[in-house]
């Protein structure tokens, strides 16, 4: 496959080395990435990538580390600007993969890692760990965004948890936004930390993949404590703090939401209404004069979490 590297126009291999242990999905992901790069990069960059791939697939660790760092110098740093067909292809090979904001260097870096041969999770981690440990900001963004694309999902849990502790905002965003890995793989405690950390950093929950699927009673208690802490400090409570309580309301939560619905400001009333109505809580909506208006907005799709608390941009 790699011999194609010498032909013109340059073509980069679109399949993983045959000896690599892999799932069909990983192979498809590599293929999709290669297709995107193919149509966007100059021949010289494609040739360079093909040469690196050859080295990496033969087990050249140093080659992977060096080329991973050098990628932007060869590919530039433009956005991929994927078409809707290309995005659909991404979603098809990896449900939940949303590379809308990916750049060419990010795609090339991910593709290079997928060229590494491995028969076990340990063999894959033997290159992923050093890359993570020495990563500069944009490298870390690329690595964490690619977590859902790597095989052996169970082997990356600790790494994902480590990333959630990061104080580098763009790194945190790479994990929490448009990334199906956390929702699919984290235990409740780590998921709850992710939600809290997101809110704590003033990042809207709206960009989190499957944000409404992992709600749990413990998270509700943590969020209520957080809300009270903010109130005690005279700080604003994020509007979407209530969102993960949907379907898991306890009496303390219901009481607070009812209060908010009656005496909060208009946006707080909307957040409270959404939480209560989506929980089928049987709450009493007669109180506020505006309740029927909120119900109208909700029924006509004008009141959603995404509209109320839009995605954070950066």
């Amino acid at each position: 496959m790699n011999s194609i590297a010498d032909s013109t126009p340059a073509v980069i291999p679109t399949q993983l080395p045959k000896t690599s242990s892999k799932t069909e999905r990983t192979e498809q992901i590599a293929h999709v990435l290669a297709t995107w790069l193919q149509t966007r990069l100059e021949p010289s960059a494609l040739e360079w990538l093909a040469r690196q791939s050859e080295k990496i697939s033969q087990g050249d660790r140093k080659g992977l580390f060096l080329s991973f760092g050098l990628v932007p110098r060869k590919t530039g740093k433009s956005d991929l600007n994927l078409s809707s067909e290309e995005l659909q292809a991404a979603h098809k090979v990896r449900p939940g993969w949303h590379p809308e904001a990916w750049s060419v260097d990010q795609a090339a870096r991910t593709w290079l890692i997928l060229q590494w041969r491995h028969r076990t999770a340990g063999e894959l981690l033997s290159v992923l760990d050093p890359l993570f440990n020495a990563g500069e900001v944009r490298e870390l963004v690329a690595l964490y965004s690619a977590l859902p694309l790597f095989p052996y999902p169970e082997a990356h849990q600790q790494r994902c948890e480590e990333g959630i502790r990061s104080n580098i905002r763009s790194v945190l965003l790479a994990i929490v936004y448009d990334n199906p890995y956390p929702a699919e793989n984290l235990c409740n405690n780590s998921w709850n930390q992710l939600i809290l950390k997101t809110l704590f950093n003033d990042i809207s929950l709206s960009g989190i993949w499957a944000v409404d699927q992992r709600n749990n009673p413990e998270l509700v208690d943590m969020l209520l404590d957080f809300a009270e802490e903010r109130q005690a400090a005279g700080r604003q409570v994020p509007l979407d703090l209530w969102r993960p309580m949907v379907r898991f309301l306890n009496s303390r939560a219901t009481h607070k939401l009812q209060q908010l619905l009656e005496s909060g400001n208009p946006t707080e009333q909307r957040a409270a209404f959404l939480t209560l109505v989506e929980s089928n809580s049987g709450a009493n909506f007669d109180g506020p004069a505006s309740a029927s208006q909120l119900r109208d907005e909700w029924e006509t799709g004008q009141l959603t979490w995404e509209l109320l608390v839009p995605r954070t941009v950066s």
Binding site: L66, S78, S103, N133, G135, I168, S170
Partner: protein, 303 residues
């Protein structure tokens, strides 16, 4: 006026410094890898330090709209621990090729021992291999001899002087450094290095060609605003704006741009991905503030 501080150790500075620097017009900084005031004892400490330089510190700067770059190298003091030095040498190639690494440095002499020379030479050769500019730290003690000896070694290896910034110069070293064709940097650092009244005189005497002003502010008593303050002092001394811009911005840009990692567009017109990842709080991109330095008075003078 926009400034570059091409030598400052931000890991030791507070967010108040970052705020003041941004307000004073500093748009980009270069953070050379150095020692941390006391010797490290394990290679892991270096690994995490280098990772911080290309990771968290880059982010921290971005919050204030300042673009952060670094140089990577084994400093002269810690070159004297041979076992450790060998381990650090082994990890350098991984970091030298990272985004935003604009030179190998700061390297050079401290006590001028044989081990210091060994690792200086090895790193100079490495700089040639990876095609990066070089930042030289000149020693505090026996300075003149150490500076000349460093240049002799560089020339012995056939490295062109325009690839090399020699830093921490003073009245005694600068003529030779300039005559031999190197970038000649002055560190405005109270008491132990250069004062800014003195540097004004030096610029009057030698001009601005290949002259660079920096702060080297670190964990010691130093001044993160040394570059903008010196610019103000030069203005008061009647040095033209063009000349001030050359020594506080243009020359640093020219000296480190051969790395391919130091471009004006990075902060003037960043790519969308850079804008998303590295400009969370950029005041330049979000409407801007009017740059200022503390008004004249004793504050402005660094002796």
């Amino acid at each position: 006026m926009a400034f570059i501080d091409p030598h400052i150790h931000m890991v030791s500075r507070t967010t108040a410094d970052y705020e003041a620097m941004a307000a004073a017009g500093v748009v980009a900084v270069i953070e050379p890898a150095f020692w941390q005031g006391q010797p490290r004892t394990t290679a892991g400490s270096f690994q995490d330090y280098f990772a911080t330089l290309v990771g968290f510190e880059r982010f921290r700067a971005s919050q204030f709209g300042i673009r952060h770059y670094c140089t990577i190298g084994l400093n002269s003091k810690e070159a004297n621990n041979e076992r450790l030095a060998d381990e650090v040498m082994e990890m350098l190639p991984l970091y030298l090729t990272k985004e935003g690494v604009v030179a190998i440095g700061e390297i050079g002499f401290d006590d001028q021992t044989a081990l210091e020379e060994k690792y200086l030479r090895l790193q100079l050769e490495l700089a040639v291999e990876v095609d990066l500019p070089i930042l030289i730290h000149t020693p505090h003690r026996n300075k003149k001899r150490g500076t000349y000896r460093t240049m002799d070694i560089i020339e012995d290896l056939g490295i062109a002087p325009h690839r090399v910034v020699i830093d921490h110069n003073n009245e005694e070293t600068c003529k030779e450094v300039l005559d031999r064709g190197y970038w000649c940097a002055f560190t405005i650092y109270p008491r132990t290095k250069m004062g800014n009244e003195r540097v004004v005189e030096i610029i009057r005497q030698y001009g601005t060609e290949r002259v660079i002003i920096d702060s080297s502010a670190d964990w010691g008593v130093s001044d993160a605003l040394a570059v903008p303050k010196t610019a103000r002092l030069m203005e008061q001394a009647g040095i033209t704006k063009d000349q001030i811009e050359i020594v506080t911005y243009q020359n640093a840009l020219a000296a480190y741009s051969p790395s391919g990692q130091f471009r004006e567009e990075d902060w003037l017109n960043p790519t969308p991905i850079d804008q998303r990842t590295l400009f969370q709080g950029n005041s330049v991109l979000r409407g801007g503030q009017s740059p200022r330095v503390d008004e004249a008075g004793e504050e402005l003078i660094i002796r």
